[in-house]
């Protein structure tokens, strides 16, 4: 017990950097990735309103200096954009299943 406590504290310290608050660089990287995916979705003529809203929320939070929230919103935007890209690509063939014949 006496030994395991310092070991656990050491382990927690090692993992601490992963749980640190996001900074501007994290936000910028997340936003760039989200923006690239969003542009791809627009190019496929399949942008989602929620992606645009998440990107706007990310920018707004970053402008207010809240990089935790900004990074989270940018990551959400990227996930949404990627889902819309997946949808556009699968629907290239999948639409036929719904057709009245």
């Amino acid at each position: 017990m006496k030994r395991s406590l310092p070991l656990a504290m050491l382990l927690a310290l090692c993992l601490a950097p992963n749980a640190r608050a996001a900074n501007e660089a994290d936000y910028k990287a997340a936003f760039a990735a989200a923006e690239a995916a969003s542009k791809e979705a627009t190019g496929l003529r399949n942008q989602w309103t929620v992606t645009v809203q998440a990107l706007t929320a990310a920018k707004k939070a970053a402008d207010g200096g809240d990089f935790d929230r900004a990074t989270a919103a940018a990551k959400e935007a990227e996930a949404l954009a990627k889902a819309s890209i997946f949808q556009a690509n699968t629907e290239k063939e999948a639409w036929k299943a719904m057709e009245i014949r």
Binding site: R45, N46, Q47, W48, T49, S84, Q87, E99, I100, R101
Partner: protein, 287 residues
């Protein structure tokens, strides 16, 4: 050596026979056949709703629900689109600054021609909708274009639709591969799922007409454009076909395309063609 050659020839001819047998089916499946598509489309709705008179499909949700239909029939005594109709009639006959009018831009002076729109312009290689033709007319006469979604455009198209009431939709697809491509693109757009809600136009208007989505009763896709433009209580005003497409896209959480984009023009072409033979009922009123 002889055996090997005959084996090779035998396999080759077997492969050729197999190809010849299967290829016609592949070609048939990929062939764009608007006549067959329209027939299948109409039959689907006629069989799904055997009690609905064919010409009644153009009345959208009212064809699906007797109570709603009675309310609408009472409302039609003082229809909410009447102001737009009057405004449209006046606008239509008011000359542009150069002295010409809309009548100069359209066959038959623009009267009783709504059922022929959209049409495929073989010069341009693209679909031309009535809204697009009206703005082209304005621009050709030195006037600024109107917004495609409401107000003046809705009033003008309301008047033109009114002069065609009862006439059967009569959309032509010329023998031009580009026209067939536009029809096919329109069909694809209609059935393609989009937006975060993963809905296609068909999710609501083919799979679920007559069902409720929140407080609304969904209209059947068959004849859905015959009633355009519409006064919609939800909008507290008039809206054009462009507005309908834009709103539908937004409701699925998809970013709408620009009004009169190629996709919207093509889907209007497809939906109008498959409603051929059904009467024009516009302008309409919807909840």
């Amino acid at each position: 050596m002889k055996t090997r050659t005959s084996l090779l020839l035998g396999s080759l001819s077997a492969a050729l026979v197999a190809f010849a047998l299967t290829s016609p089916r592949v070609v048939a499946a990929d062939k764009v056949d608007p006549v067959a598509d329209a027939k299948a489309f109409q039959n689907f709705f006629f069989q799904k709703f055997p009690d609905v008179k064919h010409e009644d499909f153009v009345n959208g949700p009212y064809s699906m629900n007797a109570d709603l239909k009675r309310q609408w029939q009472e409302k039609e005594e003082f229809p909410p689109y009447e102001f737009a109709l009057d405004a449209g009639k006046e606008m239509f006959s008011t000359p542009f600054k150069n002295g010409k009018t809309y009548a100069d831009c359209f066959p038959n002076g623009g009267i009783g021609i709504r059922q022929n729109y959209p049409y495929f312009d073989e010069k341009d290689g693209k679909v031309v909708t009535l809204e697009l033709a009206l703005n082209r007319c304005r621009e050709a006469n030195g006037e600024p274009p109107y917004s495609y979604v409401k107000d003046e455009m809705a009033s003008l198209t309301a008047y033109m639709a009114f002069t065609s009431r009862g006439k059967p939709m009569d959309i032509k697809i010329p023998d031009d591969p580009r026209a067939l491509e536009a029809f096919e693109n329109g069909k694809r757009y209609f059935y393609t799922r989009r937006g975060q809600l993963n809905f296609s136009c068909a999710s609501c208007h083919v799979q679920s007409p007559g069902e409720r989505i929140r407080a609304e009763i969904l209209a059947p896709a068959l004849g859905i454009l015959n009633a355009m433009p519409i006064y919609r209580s939800e909008w507290s005003g008039m809206g054009t076909t462009s507005r309908r497409f834009v709103t539908c896209n937004s409701q699925t959480r998809a970013v709408p395309l620009e009004p009169q984009s190629d996709e919207y023009r093509d889907v209007e072409y497809y939906l109008s063609y498959v409603a051929n033979g059904l009467p024009i009922s516009g302008p309409g009123a919807r909840p």
